[in-house]
């Protein structure tokens, strides 16, 4: 009996702490998502309203656009970061000349606050900014309203900025994964006459699979909630071209102070992420027990 429950008794403080910092806020927001609580009107909730806040969210003319934009930015941005990050990790792993310096420098974008990154790119993306100048010099025809002023290019500017900042994160994690591959396996493959591509495909990638899946999952969830860069670069515009779910949530909660509605929006986002992540886990980790 003692042996059966002993370990759980020791775990209780941790479980209690976890409940307090994780479950309480979630429960709090779930409860208020069914309440009419708008801090513009009253400092206290005005009563139970059932699913009204959820219905309002789905009826919001910007909801579908925001959902589409969120998914588009998340998928494209995460994929680009993965591909580029892998490329950089492979280059760094090749131990070419100057690699150690590059390895130190490459982490810099990750250390800058996204708000600052937003401001830097905002000025670079203006018509007289350096990025616009480079693109024009390369022969690209830019929209008259500027990269950030056109719906067709503004969303790509956000993806580009996010990719610039977070590709190094992929690169560093994947580099650590690459360096953990036992060298004798790589050497054996070379002795057996495997090409570079074959080594990457049949040895490196299977070894990286777990690390890759985890880092992809983390970035997917972070990009799904991307807000700062959008706020600084486009404020969701032009029109609703770069509105995302987290941007709507920010406005509902911290600009309009509609706590009930913002809580409902937050729970819709949580539900979407849970569904997507569980599908992903089922596919990516089917051979591993999590």
């Amino acid at each position: 009996m003692k042996r059966k429950f002993g370990p759980f008794l020791f775990l209780l403080p941790s479980i209690g702490l976890l409940m307090a910092i994780l479950l309480y806020p979630l429960g709090f927001s779930l409860f208020y998502s069914f309440q009419n609580w708008n801090l513009q009107i009253s400092p206290i909730p005005q009563g139970f309203v059932g699913f009204t806040n959820y219905v309002m969210a789905f009826r919001d003319p910007h909801f579908l656009t925001s959902l589409t934009n969120t998914m588009f930015i998340t998928f494209i941005s995460t994929t680009l970061q993965l591909v580029l990050g892998m490329g950089i990790a492979l280059l760094l792993n090749a131990r070419l000349k100057g690699t150690s310096l590059v390895r130190t420098l490459i982490i810099l974008p990750v250390t800058i606050a996204p708000l600052v990154v937003g401001f830097i790119f905002r000025y670079m993306l203006y018509s007289d900014g350096v990025l616009s100048f480079i693109l024009r010099t390369l022969g690209f025809s830019l929209p008259e309203a500027g990269i950030l002023g056109s719906g067709a290019t503004a969303i790509w500017a956000i993806i580009f900025t996010d990719t610039w900042q977070w590709t190094p994160f992929f690169a560093i994690i994947l580099l650590a994964g690459l360096q953990a591959i036992p060298t004798h396996i790589l050497e054996a493959a070379k002795v057996d006459g495997a090409s570079g591509l074959q080594v990457f495909w049949y040895i490196m990638l299977p070894h990286l699979k777990f690390v890759l899946s985890i880092v992809l999952m983390i970035r997917f969830m972070k990009t799904f909630n991307l807000f700062d860069i959008i706020h600084i670069l486009t404020r969701g515009g032009p029109g609703a071209a770069t509105r995302t779910l987290s941007y709507n949530l920010y406005y509902a909660g911290l600009r309009y102070f509609n706590v009930g509605y913002a809580s409902a929006l937050a729970w819709i986002m949580i539900a979407i992420v849970i569904v997507l992540i569980n599908i992903y886990i089922a596919i990516a980790f089917k051979e591993k027990e999590l």
Partner: protein, 479 residues
């Protein structure tokens, strides 16, 4: 047990002694804090006035012995931080910077205190009779009480480039309203200026949701379009009137102004338009009065002189024939949170910060970036007029001002503004026609106002919120 190991008893003794020492030192620190000069926390937006106060705070501290901890925030941050601190009933804030659009929300939720008693008790020193009534009515009065005192007050002016006007052979905008200076004439001028080589006729602010509403609402108000059936005069009727013929005309005109602006002004926020005008070749635009001094620089609060310095002049904004002119009034104010524990010290600070003497010092002290006055004597000061030559035009603009009509500061204004701004931006982006955007705005206003019990019948009590009543209130407080 070996000698160098600590026994449980020794450990507990040590712990107990440390706890006692900590408790005693905390007590001593508190005692010494009480013995020290009193201090207040002042949280506000980092508009130009913030930097002027920063320069002068030591004078207040020397005069009164009250220490001021000044903290600045961006527009996006401050409202959220204030509401969160009020909801959490935090006691750490003593003076807070309030945008006029938040006043009713803070006042109705009793998060800030009315200042009438403070003003009345101190009227010989505070001099309420000096205040520009249009400013107080627009920014500080709610339901017949003064809840805040301005820290800066802005209204709208026309800004034009003298050299480009000369080149195009145009008569400059007048310094007082004249019949010929209409919005149609403004648009005609913009078209003419746009024809000059490498010149944009005008510049607009297009970023949604807030910045675009700031600029557009001036045009809307001048054209005679209103947000609601009746507000702020009683009886309050919040039936939205946003989808009106006057507003459609205004929005079509705004769209045309955008067509003659730098194309990327669709994503311009406040200072982007000012910076564009001060550094590029743009003929004419209208904007907040603070840009009169900000545009002397090459960028917002930049040390570099504008390349257009000396070429920019000022006039009143155009009017719409047969419609009473109405100018926008905006700005930030000081308020005292209900949870402040140093309310008297906070009032001492507000009294000092809003006095004619301090305001003048703010204006004459380098970098001379402050002319957002709301006290009459400052508009009669020759030294100030020399430094800020647009002051007579600014005073004229205030005389036609009513911020409550241009942007009605009801508690749910921010929500309405959010939707409105987004729809206005869609018109500029070509996603919607002006008709469709206003139709959708009207529908959204109706839904939001219904959800919050403003229509069909307003559930609260109304108040006859007129300029005359604010003037009476100020007279009463001065007597």
């Amino acid at each position: 047990m070996s000698e160098d190991r600590i026994s449980r008893r020794t450990f507990l003794k040590g712990l107990g002694t440390s706890a006692l020492a900590f408790g005693f030192s905390t007590f001593l620190r508190r005692q010494s804090a009480f013995a020290q000069d009193p201090s207040i926390n002042f949280l506000t937006i980092q508009d130009p006035f913030f930097f002027s106060y920063e320069e002068l705070l030591s004078e207040f501290e020397e005069e009164t012995g009250i220490q001021v901890k000044l903290q600045g925030r961006s527009t996006d941050e401050i409202h959220a931080e204030l509401v969160n601190s009020f909801v959490a009933e935090q006691k750490g804030l003593d003076v807070v910077g309030i945008d006029q659009m938040w006043l009713s929300q803070y006042a109705e939720n009793k998060w800030i205190i009315p200042l009438d008693e403070y003003i009345k008790d101190d009227n010989d020193e505070f001099k309420p009779e000096e205040l520009v009534p249009e400013v107080i009515h627009s920014m500080n009065e709610w339901r017949g009480s003064i809840y805040s005192i301005p820290s800066c007050a802005y209204t709208m002016l026309s800004f034009y480039r003298k050299d480009l006007f000369e080149e195009a052979g145009l008569t400059p905008p007048p310094e007082q309203q004249e019949d010929w200076w209409t919005w149609d004439k403004h648009l005609e001028y913009v078209r003419e200026l746009d024809k000059l080589e490498d010149v944009d006729g005008t510049v607009i602010v297009g970023a949604s949701p807030v910045p675009i509403v700031h600029m557009y609402s001036q045009l809307q108000a001048s054209k005679g379009a209103r947000w609601f059936e009746q507000f702020p005069e009683s009886p309050w009727d919040f039936t939205p009137t946003i989808n009106s013929a006057e507003n459609r005309e205004a929005l079509e005109a705004y769209k045309e102004l955008y067509d003659h602006s730098p194309a990327e002004s669709i994503s311009y926020v406040w200072f982007d338009a000012g910076t564009a005008f001060s550094t590029q070749d743009i003929g004419l635009y209208y904007w907040w009065t603070s840009y009169a001094y900000l545009m002397r620089r090459a960028g917002y609060m930049s040390d570099e002189k504008s390349p257009n310095f000396g070429k920019i002049d000022y006039g009143v904004i155009p009017h719409q024939p047969e419609v009473d002119q109405l100018t926008s009034i905006g700005g930030f104010s000081f308020g005292i949170p209900r949870y402040s524990q140093s309310k008297n010290e906070a009032w001492e600070f507000i009294k000092w910060a809003s006095s004619t003497e301090t305001q003048k010092k703010m204006a004459v002290t380098e970098p001379q970036l402050f002319s957002d006055f709301y006290r009459e004597p400052l508009y009669e000061d020759e030294e100030l007029e020399e430094l800020y030559p647009w002051l007579p035009v600014q005073r004229e603009a205030f005389a036609k001002g009513n911020g409550k009509l241009v942007r009605p500061p009801i508690p749910i204004y921010t929500t309405l503004e959010g939707f409105y701004g987004s729809e206005l931006n869609k018109v500029l982006a070509g996603n919607k026609s002006p008709e469709k955007a206003l139709e959708d705005t009207q529908k959204n206003f109706e839904t939001t106002l219904k959800q919050n019990f403003y229509i069909p019948d307003y559930s609260g009590e109304d108040y006859n919120d007129t300029l005359e009543n604010t003037e009476k209130l100020l007279q009463d407080l001065a007597s």
